[in-house]
Symmetry: C2
Subunit: 741 residues, 2 copies
């Protein structure tokens, strides 16, 4: 560790030296951040032709024209988030940036003058300001225009670019006024003035370093760039590069999940582009094996049918068309010319007015897009990629399915207590779902648009997810710190012609309980179908009650066991830890054998979960919405499999998409499950699952041998005997056809 840290320091010092030399040579060329002077020449040329870029320009110009027809408003800061002065200052920075770009493209001085005049007003206001009156109590990081310095940093990121865009239209006195009274003081306030935020290896820190670093380039303050990159003391302990090293895993996965990943991306993408323009020798895009590009790509990979997988605090309608990812994909295409990114850009349907935006527009005009390839991947979590993983399995056999398996780390304050949970997607829709965040973003009537109280009382709790709850208590007892310190282990992940398989485990979610889950998404090409296999092992020292919920999207169609409904009145399932929010709608204890629950999703497909039970699992059917006096929760359905007073239990099930309900064309196909047999044999390290479905019988073999060094390869090539036949297995997963009709 010491050795590594010393050599890192050496690299940092060397890099810093090179950088200063580069910066000293830098000439005052404007613009030169995300969009360069050369880019602008090409962009102007493009405006003589019809095409996507010109269309985007016309739309943007129209919007800017309407806005600059209004008087400039730079109000004295007064309101917190959502209030007038807050929203106005947000609109201002966006407008200055947009107007600056229209100035570059049209060379019409009125746009530059507008930005200049607004900057003048800011330059007049800023020296008069103390920290924001609505700053949060005890907060270490208030802004002046805004209640928190995060917003102030975002303001700087946009405003410094706007300034760069109009710089060459200004005379020396104007430059002096704007830089001395506004931009330099803001940059200093956000760096030297708030070291704890600026140096913090956190997304808030990234906005600050991006703003200050870009200010350094524009106003020829190379020291600021150094500090932005390597911490105020230039040690490399903080700063942009450290953020890039620690906030993403080596595979480019961001600890909080895709919803926050796309948000976190923005300052990284922006500042990196500026670094590349000004200091190409820093090779920022090659840093850490190209982690930034991986982060952009991973954000796309973590989506299904255009929407991000909604793990942790996520608003479910966020997807790949989010503006942050438009910027990310634009830069990624500019870097790689990979036509897969054009596929995404086409879906985003939004051209941005930058040099890379021009490239994307031209390429789309030439129909160069090729289908983006979604893959099955285990995205390692944590800065070392070893704090568990977020696993995505996909298949095209029988549609377009995705299974998300989450032996991932807690994900800080926005993380949910859902170790080893899963989600399933088919034919465009959520089938086995995650609640996401309990929040109506910006809807004042719903708790001011903030996270609802039910986010803490329900959505974050384990029962709100599809994983085991012990004794009605949430993982880590709901303690974030404990969660952050105890990631699950990814035992293995493999994808091959038979499908994908993964296993994860955790022994720290509860004091004396070990949870191990193995999931597989299996291709059955003969049936043009897929199956999701779930083996959940729970082993404890003492006896416990174990609950395994499954939250499904759709209408219950049938159970193959008698279900006693609570028809005439409803009570909550429990008292706390999220249980108080579930109505208990019915219950049953199926006999030993196969217990089936079928539902119909609004995509018109049927889904059946077939569980192998011993007669000791009770099934409780639930609906979200109890103890919800303000009608804040979505009333979704689920069922909870429960075993009481046990030290050990194995939950075994398969999820099977089947059939089609088409009332419009008046046909219904295969509305009943085709699974007729399910048997599990644990043969040492091997889990052997025999599945009979639609007259075919399959043997699924999963090799769970531990991941020991050296030995593993031989352990993964083995032979085994099942029902007097010998099978050979090469890898983690194989599917054998035992009989077909």
């Amino acid at each position: 560790m010491n050795l590594f840290s010393n050599s890192l320091k050496a690299v940092v010092v060397l890099a810093a030296t090179v950088a200063i030399m580069l910066s000293l040579r830098a000439e005052a060329v404007h613009p030169s951040l995300v969009t360069s002077k050369a880019d602008v020449v090409e962009m102007r040329k493009e405006l003589t032709k019809d095409g996507r870029f010109k269309q985007a320009f016309i739309a943007q110009k129209k919007q800017v024209d309407a806005q600059i027809a209004q008087p400039i408003e730079v109000p004295v800061p007064k309101d917190g988030g959502g209030g007038y002065t807050h929203e106005r200052h947000k609109k201002n920075y966006q407008l200055m940036y947009n107007a600056g770009m229209i100035y570059q493209l049209t060379q019409d001085e009125k746009y530059a003058d507008y930005v200049r005049d607004m900057l003048f007003e800011y330059a007049e206001l800023y020296p008069t300001l103390d920290v924001h009156p609505k700053r949060k109590m005890k907060s270490q990081n208030p802004g002046k225009f805004f209640w928190q310095s995060l917003n102030e940093a975002v303001w700087l990121v946009y405003t410094i670019q706007a300034y760069d865009l109009i710089h060459d239209s200004l005379d020396a006195a104007e430059i002096k006024n704007i830089e001395q009274n506004l931009l330099k003081p803001v940059a200093l306030f956000l760096s030297e003035g708030q070291p704890s935020t600026f140096n913090k290896v956190h997304n808030h820190g990234t906005w600050a370093t991006a703003g200050v670093g870009m200010a350094g380039y524009v106003m020829n303050e190379p020291e600021w760039v150094e500090k932005a990159l390597y911490d105020l003391d230039k040690s490399g302990k903080g700063g942009f590069l450290k953020q890039l090293d620690q906030l993403f895993s080596p595979q480019g996965y961001y600890n909080e999940g895709p919803y926050y990943q796309r948000y976190a991306l923005m300052p990284f993408v922006t500042f990196a582009k500026a670094i590349e323009s000004n200091d190409p020798k820093r090779k920022i895009y090659q840093h850490r094996n190209g982690v930034l590009l991986k982060a952009i790509d991973t954000t796309i990979q973590l989506s299904y049918n255009g929407l991000f997988f909604p793990i942790n605090d996520a608003i479910k309608s966020k997807g790949i068309d989010t503006i942050e990812l438009v910027h990310g994909v634009t830069v990624a295409y500019g870097l790689t010319n990979d036509p897969g990114f054009l596929d995404i850009a086409q879906q985003q349907d939004q051209i941005i007015l930058t040099g890379d935006g021009l490239k994307v527009a031209q390429a789309l005009d030439k129909n160069l897009a090729k289908p983006y390839k979604f893959k099955s991947v285990a995205f390692g979590d944590g800065d070392d990629g070893k704090q568990g993983a977020l696993v995505v399995m996909r298949t095209q056999v029988g549609g377009d399915q995705a299974l998300l398996f989450k032996p991932a780390a807690q994900g800080l304050g926005h993380g949910h207590f859902d170790k080893l949970t899963w989600q399933f997607y088919d034919h465009g829709n959520e089938i086995v779902s995650d609640y996401g965040a309990a929040r109506f973003l910006n809807v004042e009537a719903k708790y001011g648009g903030r996270y609802l109280p039910e986010n803490n009382t329900y959505a974050k709790h384990t029962i709100a997810h599809n994983t085991v709850v012990v004794d009605e208590t949430t993982h880590f007892d709901g303690n974030v710190e404990k969660g952050n310190n105890n990631a699950p282990t990814l035992n293995f992940f493999e994808t091959n012609q038979f499908g994908s398989v993964s296993s994860g485990e955790i022994s720290t979610a509860y004091d004396d309980v070990r949870l191990e889950r193995t999931m597989a998404l299996i291709n059955l090409p003969e049936l043009e179908s897929t199956l999701a296999l779930d083996l959940f092992d729970v082993v404890a020292t003492d006896k416990h009650q174990l609950d395994l919920p499954l939250h499904y999207q759709g209408q219950l169609i049938d159970t193959n066991f008698e279900l006693k409904a609570n028809a005439s009145h409803l009570m909550a399932l429990g008292k706390k830890n999220g249980y108080q929010h579930l109505w208990l709608k019915g219950q049953a204890t199926p006999e030993k054998g196969l217990a089936k629950v079928s539902w119909l999703n609004e995509n018109g497909r049927f889904y059946t979960q077939t569980s192998l039970v011993n007669g000791d699992e009770s099934f409780m059917f639930t609906q979200i919405g109890a103890n919800d006096p303000n009608f804040n929760l979505r009333n979704e359905n689920g069922f909870v499999r429960r075993v009481k007073g046990t030290k050990q239990h194995q939950f075994v099930s398969v999820l099977e998409p089947h059939g089609e309900y088409n009332p419009s064309k008046e046909y219904t196909l295969e509305a009943t499950s085709r699974v007729t047999g399910l048997e599990l044999t644990n043969n040492g390290d091997l889990a052997l699952v025999k599945i009979s479905i639609a007259g075919n019988t399959y043997l699924v073999a999963i090799n769970k041998v531990a991941n020991k060094k050296n030995k593993l390869e031989s352990e993964l090539q083995r032979k085994f005997t099942y029902q007097n036949k010998t099978f050979s297995l090469n890898g983690r997963l194989a599917v054998y056809v035992l009989t077909n009709p």
Copy 2:
């Protein structure tokens, strides 16, 4: 009445005479039903070119090729609906028709031979059959291949066309075998053999007359055509023309509503086309001022965003792409060349292989489609168009809105007890909704795919709709016959530049209660918005409890009054008449003034119902799903406004679409209602409603003067005074801007 009936008889006799003469001259040209020999020549020619028609042909041929590669199966009838022999015979007639058409287009004998061989098998089987073993007890109309003669008639409609298509490939012995042993006996069984069905003025009768009439054309039995058109006794009391006279209103509205209308259309469209081909002088399409074409067009008009308005027993996903309407639109375009029908055909995206199908395909290939015009219309109900009406109001101001108002007749056995109910649609979605039918079509696990028990215990009841329920009792006490005999009155309907307005009333839904409702869809162009105004007057002899439910689609966002939620346990709202299926989730009694309920639809828009209350209306918030042991019902939300012990009450409210929730782009606009004032003044016949919204104040004037002859025109042009100002009103509806900001 007698006079009319005599002159009708005269026309009938004359027509019959002309028809027989025409028929005697008819030569044996095949095919000559929906598709003529001349059509086939054009269709074959088209197959030499690329285009929609050729594509449709290739797809159809591929399907037929796959099916005729299988052995012919003509099983001995055994199963009821959904069972093997039932489904097989259904597939057979469709396959024979399709294969016959492919024979005509390819002239490849193998297709004709296949149809011939299948007909031989039927000809061998039919003489051995008694009525179907699974015929329904007490049924007057069993089939032989099928359990009911309805299916048998459909079989004949398809099979006679298939036979016509391959006729010229057969030798005399083959013709004799098929006609003598199969087609003629079937036609006789369905006509002479079942006079009560054949003569019945009912959709089932239409299939029978269509099948038998077409058989008459193909097998040169002109008498059959006469009987099909004019009743077995040729009196005109029954038969196809009587069906056309009675089953549709003069505007082409079918009493059971659009869901059954599109189904009923099929035999009308098919037989009419055959009549036009064989007996053009009958001018079938001009019959009753072109009612058949009106019926096709009305079916389209009764849709929103591609789906039929789901009144009565309707499966909600049925829409304009239904195969029956594909045929209807194809024929309608063939008749009219109206490019609006091409717009619909484009949305249907299905070309049928007929002469008219060819015309549609060619026109679409030439991009001749023009937007179909959806209109605001009151579709008169009943054969005279005077048994109430189904009213559709539409506006494009502020989106694409539709309001459906239903002062319509009961609609026979599939009708719901929902006099004067309404529905509202905006931005593509249902906002104020109707449950439709409680049914999962063809899903065996859900009550065999039939109408669920909850269709009778919930969906048909008044409480499941958006209209007044007196004393928790359903309209007409749930008696269909009483409902059929007592239609509401349409007082008026008008559409003009201010919007649309309509009023209806009924005094027979309850013994001593008169229900009168006036609804308006109002354009507010200044706000680029619309409002739905609802004035519901209830007057009774005795004191009653009045409930006015509103079933909304979405998540409750806010109320402007305190709502006491039943947070920890739920009970049903009542014991019977559908009330037992509603959970009571919360309640409130808002103070005198404006009571607001806001919800968010999944289309991302907010909706607020603002009610003018006196402090005597309690609001009960409900969710469907109580006493539903098999989870058959959809758990949708609503609220019921209740007044107790009153002889008279006026429910006054406006529904206001507003704002936008866009968590993807992270903005929320106008999440709160903009209505700040609502006042109603009843000034004689005038209802004057002052509405303050978003700083504007409007006066809406509705002239409710009775529809007396002669006088009406002058009554509709009048002046009135409101708050010391004089206004002039010309018509039923005006909107005046009192103040704007």
